[in-house]
């Protein structure tokens, strides 16, 4: 019997030069997934953990994840932001069970080891033993030092109210990590105004985590899959648009300016375009331009590997990718507004949120297509996708009729994964 299987290969085979044919195996291999966690989520990279507005006061905390590891984002007594791993230094318990709250210290209920909000171990019960009949029983060894047994502390970067963390103490500065082009789009959205949390949506999507990055690096599908986008001109192939990447092609921004909608040659010859479609209630699309947009009506930014920043007209959100195994991830949406929003604008953002999220008029089907792609990947991992719209190169463009951002991400993926 042959050692190598033609249906279930062990190594990903990339056809041709470049990354325009993506092996199904990169979505199905548990071994590659573990390497991705190690190389993308736990080393050299910044991961999104939340917004400062989620922990406004000293002691406020929020439990979240970096990759598959549970971490706590907390505001320390001095107002600074810390991120510590939710694993007790003693017996390894994930001690923090609430998703959010306010604490003066962290205490693991198992043996009551207590930590400061920074993660320093401050108390160990019976450390010096228990006195009984003039004798001291037990206790920790004399050379036990609390300073050796803190919680794992992550490196933290905050910018514009957004918090990133990294297990890697040597990770480059966040600004260098994003690069000047993507940083520009980041700062456009998070320009220093205080953020106001509007709430969360949580969905579990049975597909590989990279598929969500790819979905928002793929400007080809929105004008085809999403009727609302093409019919109302929110996002379609004839909109004025740019695609931008950082130097290493891991992050990207898709920038688009809404056209007038309606009929046009080519782009509306698609079955999803519905010329006669009229909303019974047009207030879903009560769009009011905001000064900070500076032109574009939509900028979708993918920060590799963990987050997507959404601006689609007046709806803004962060979308946190939380992988759990090679074939599934949790997708957590945090919708927000800005401190200086009028009540009218807040209501508008909330109304437009109907387009997005796990039931949204536009986004619900993104999760569906990811699930059905993953189903096929699992059944024939020897095969590959084709990402050749706009050529086989990796380049910034002044249009959206291309899959160049996906090719770019996999160029970076190969650099890191095959090193």
């Amino acid at each position: 019997m042959s050692e190598t299987s033609t249906v279930f290969p062990r190594e990903a085979h990339w056809e041709g030069e470049g990354t325009h044919r993506i092996p199904f195996l990169v979505y199905t291999s548990e071994e590659l997934y573990k390497r991705e966690l190690e190389r993308f989520f736990y080393k050299d990279h910044w991961c999104y953990v939340g917004l400062e507005a989620e922990v406004p006061n000293p002691g406020d905390y929020k439990r979240t994840v970096v990759g598959e590891r549970s971490v706590i984002l907390v505001r320390d007594a001095d107002g600074s932001i810390k991120v510590v791993e939710n694993v007790c230094a003693h017996r390894g318990m994930r001690f923090c069970r609430e998703r959010n709250g306010n604490r003066k210290e962290f205490v693991c209920p198992y043996h009551q080891w207590s930590y400061t909000l920074k993660g320093d171990l401050q108390g160990v019960p019976f450390r010096r033993g228990v006195k009984q009949d003039g004798q001291v029983h037990g206790g920790m060894p004399a050379d036990f030092k609390t300073s050796d047994h803190g919680l794992t502390k992550l490196k933290v970067a905050t910018r514009g109210g957004v918090v990133f963390a990294s297990f890697d103490p040597d990770v480059e500065p966040l600004e260098d990590y994003l690069g000047p082009t993507i940083l520009g789009y980041f700062d456009r959205l998070f320009n220093g105004r205080k953020l106001k949390i509007l709430g969360y949506n949580r969905q579990r999507i049975p597909g590989n985590w990279k598929l969500m990055q790819e979905n928002i690096k793929d400007p080809y599908h929105p004008g085809l899959l999403h009727t609302w986008f093409v019919t109302f001109g929110l996002w379609r192939a004839d909109n004025k648009s740019q695609l931008r990447m950082d130097e290493r092609h891991r992050h990207a921004a898709m920038i688009s300016t809404r056209g007038s909608g309606g009929k046009a040659e080519q782009v509306t010859q698609v079955s999803s375009f519905k010329e006669s479609m009229q909303l019974h209630d047009p207030s879903f699309l009560d769009i009011v331009p905001e000064p900070w947009w500076g032109g574009p009506t939509a900028v979708m930014t993918t920060i590799f590997p963990s987050v997507i920043f959404q601006q689609q007209v007046n709806s803004v959100s962060t979308r946190h990718i939380q992988p759990n195994g090679h074939g599934s991830f949790d997708f957590v949406w945090t919708h927000f507004g800005f401190e200086d929003d009028s009540e009218e604008m807040t209501q508008r953002r909330l109304r437009q949120a109907n387009l997005f999220g796990p039931a949204g008029f536009v986004s619900a089907d993104d999760g569906e297509v990811i699930e059905f792609s993953q189903q096929a990947f699992e059944s024939k991992p020897f095969h590959r996708t084709v990402a050749e719209l706009g050529g086989r190169e990796v380049e910034n463009t002044e249009h959206m009729v291309t899959e160049t951002l996906i090719r770019g991400m996999y160029r970076y993926w190969r650099e890191v994964m095959e090193a």
Partner: protein
Amino acid sequence: MEVQAMATNIHFEDWLALTQLYSDYASAVDSGNWDLWPEFFTDDCVYRLQPRENHERGFPLATLSFTSKGMLRDRVYGIQETLFHDPYYQRHVVGAPIVRRAEPGRFECEANYAVFRTKLSEPSTVFNVGRYFDVVARTPDGLKFARRECIYDSEMIPNSIIYPI
């Protein structure tokens, strides 16, 4: 949450009409005939599908938030024409409503619900579990929902919600 008593000033005819409304609604949203759904509501109704987390923490965001019967009709059109999705059956099991407040022509009610989803070639699974918080209004066409909030416990939506809860 404050424990409230059940209203006691309700007549049998009203109770009968209310329980009929709840049963009819469940039957309609499980039928696959989506056009039935908006007709359970008043013209200026509120329909919200919201995670319990947002509800309890005072965050206004809902998974779906509609403020007119027109929006419900737009949702029906979305289900039928614009939202690509895996077809599925849904089955609501709704508890008897508890009437928190009864006023002339207006009732505030709550009811537990569980929705099961069955995809083609798949076993049935628990899909969405929560509680309805409702305001029911008496209209010339019978009892209608002036407000229906579906506050769901389910921490993770299994991919997507397409059909009305």
